[in-house]
């Protein structure tokens, strides 16, 4: 088990290398650099800046320098935010994104699982069908549609929340809900599907023949196996929450990692862009590992070695 975890964590290395290399050369292949869309500056200053960030060196050397820096855990200085390092920027912006993501995941799981279990316990009834219709509606509701509509309704018309910005914790409620809604729908479908699959199994008939009540059968015999599909979706969902932060943070004007990423990409802030992508890649690998471990916990037949 421990060996497996270590092996999976080592997988981070090729992922990081692949990401670092591809983004590095992509960014440098692009026409235009981080400092040229600015106001006119003299050639001398330009040369100074380039020297400071080693942009005057050959590409290969820059690449090696970058890898070396990475190996020591340093993501380098930001090109745009002159006196801040990428590590600093990520450290201050990520907590906001993580908070929104966690709230989103909470909504997604609580709404999704309860809807799915409800539908599955009334399989093929009108209640099941309407819950699943609702879920189908939900997966057709992207965050950049839900978000503005929610602001329009709850913030502008009803005045319950701030229209934008992040001053209090409850300002993250609406962004979280915005992000969670679509994934709640996915979780509802997966849960319903997983449970209805289990309900058909022979061992549920055995449980009935033992004289157990429907509640015990659902909670003890059905749920553990029925939640497996939803569990394996947790990894992709968590990743999507991070990606979703790009839009939600833009809509709600939050100082999170996603908004910084979009800004830095538009600004060609090489180091910041690469830092964000690398950071996310590591997060994804870790989350996928956690999901796989949870899977083994739920299904005793799955073992890792």
């Amino acid at each position: 088990m421990l060996g497996y975890i270590i092996r999976r964590l080592l997988q981070v290395i090729p992922v990081l290398w692949l990401v670092a290399t591809s983004t590095f050369f992509l960014m440098h292949a692009a026409p235009g650099g981080p400092f040229d869309s600015e106001r006119q500056i003299s050639a001398e200053i330009q040369a100074n800046i380039n020297a400071r960030y080693h942009l005057d060196e050959p590409l290969g050397k820059q690449y090696l320098r970058y890898l070396q820096m990475l190996a020591s855990g340093d993501l380098g200085p930001s090109f745009r935010y002159a006196d801040r390092s990428v590590n600093e920027i990520i450290a201050t912006t990520f907590p906001v994104s993580a908070m929104v993501g966690l709230i989103g995941l909470f909504f997604a799981l609580s709404i999704g699982l309860s809807t799915g279990i409800f539908a599955a316990s009334k399989l093929n009834s009108w209640r099941d069908y309407s819950a699943m219709l609702l879920a189908l509606l939900g997966i057709s509701l992207p965050s950049f549609v839900v978000g503005p509509l929610m602001i329009l309704l709850f913030s502008i018309k009803l005045g319950w929340f701030s229209v934008s910005g992040y001053n209090r914790l409850q300002d993250l409620l609406l962004p979280g809900l915005t992000m969670g809604i679509m994934y709640a729908a996915f979780f509802a479908r997966l849960t319903r599907g997983g449970i209805s699959e289990i309900i058909r199994q022979d061992f549920i008939r055995t449980a009935k023949a033992k004289g157990l009540s429907n509640t015990v059968i659902m909670l003890r015999h059905t749920l553990k196996g029925g939640l497996l599909p939803a569990t394996s979706f947790l990894g992709p969902a968590a990743t999507a929450m991070l990606t979703g932060s790009l839009v939600v943070e833009t809509i709600f004007n939050l100082p999170g990692l996603g908004r910084f990423f979009v800004q830095s990409a538009l600004n060609r802030d090489y180091t910041l862009v690469m830092g964000c992508v690398l950071f996310l890649a590591v997060l994804i690998v870790i989350m996928n590992l956690l999901v796989d471990l949870a899977y083994a916990f739920l299904d005793p037949r799955v073992t890792y070695d």
Partner: protein
């Protein structure tokens, strides 16, 4: 001894999909395709979705003939007008007809949806088929690579690509398609692997049937179903992704419009001109819903045994 022929009459034919139904169909000698088609036709939501999509495609194709305005005709003197009268869905802050922009926007959004899905299908099917059919060490290496690729934040790559190479519509097709093929590859590979190991294929190989004939006769017919179903489910994902990029200002370029850019414009003006947000949001939502209805219906029709997901 007397022999008498008896006939067994099956009571009442037809009805919705069920296991018993499959049994009866098999007895009646219907092909699997006809069978799937019949089940799809019975799914009202899926049929409604299909009809809506056909209508939407038709409207998008005929956009230049349907609207007396072009998507780019600005009328600054007119400015934003609420829906009704001359402009059915109103005009935006530059006085452009929103209905015209929606119709032309649908062209971009749907074209991206179909073409990017086609790109993902080509890459995914070839990758999966090669990996599954060759098997052995090649398969192991290819699947390891796939695992690594799964861990990459792809949307971020597309964003970087769009930033670097400019907002080019063809790049958008390829970039989005290149991102969505991973699951397709996995599905095809699994399917190919399981068919390849069936006894009848092994039997065919031992009596000297050629590889191409096996691929043509056994493998391809068996992967068409899953490929169609998964492709149908990919289209809404890609449409969504395009809208997402356009929303961030990384999709198509002004004055061209897609549903995503229209929603982005709408968000900027939602406090004063809410119709600019509501109509494009609604168009995108209904199209996604129709695609999901159809995809779900297809999946159930082709694989009635499988659950929802």
């Amino acid at each position: 001894m007397i022999k008498q022929k008896t006939t067994f009459v099956a009571e009442n034919e037809g009805g919705g999909p069920s296991r018993r139904d499959l049994f009866a169909d098999a007895a009646a000698g219907r092909s699997l395709w006809q069978d799937s088609w019949r089940r799809l036709a019975q799914n009202k939501l899926a049929v409604a979705g299909l009809l809506y999509l056909l209508l939407q495609c038709l409207l998008a194709l005929l956009a230049p003939y349907l609207s007396s305005y072009s998507y780019a005709d600005a009328d600054l003197l007119l400015g934003p007008t609420p829906p009704g009268g001359e402009h059915l869905c109103g005009t935006d802050d530059l006085g452009r007809d929103i209905l015209a922009r929606l119709l032309f926007g649908a062209r971009i959004s749907l074209a991206v949806g179909f073409l990017a899905t086609a790109v993902s299908m080509v890459i995914g099917v070839s990758y999966g088929a090669i990996s599954g059919y060759l098997g052995g060490r090649v398969d192991t290496v290819m699947m390891r690579l796939l695992e690594v690729l799964y861990a990459l934040p792809f949307t971020f790559f597309v964003i970087i690509l769009m930033v670097i190479f400019g907002r080019n519509i063809y790049l958008l097709f390829i970039a989005l398609g290149a991102v969505q093929w991973l699951t397709m590859a996995r599905i095809v590979r699994g399917q190919v692997l399981s068919i390849k190991n069936r006894e009848y294929v092994e039997a065919a190989l031992t009596i000297g049937v050629s590889h191409w004939r096996i691929i043509w006769r056994h493998i391809i017919p068996n992967i068409i179903g899953p490929v169609i179903v998964y492709s149908t489910l990919t289209i809404p994902v890609v449409v969504l992704e395009e809208a997402f990029l356009s929303f961030l200002g990384l999709g198509v370029q002004e004055p061209m419009a897609s549903w995503g850019t229209l929603i982005a414009d709408g968000v900027g003006a939602m406090e004063t001109y809410p119709w600019m947000l509501i109509f494009p949001s609604f168009s995108l939502m209904v199209a996604l819903l129709a695609l999901n209805f159809l995809g779900d219906g297809l999946r159930e029709a082709m694989d009635p045994q499988a659950g929802l997901d």
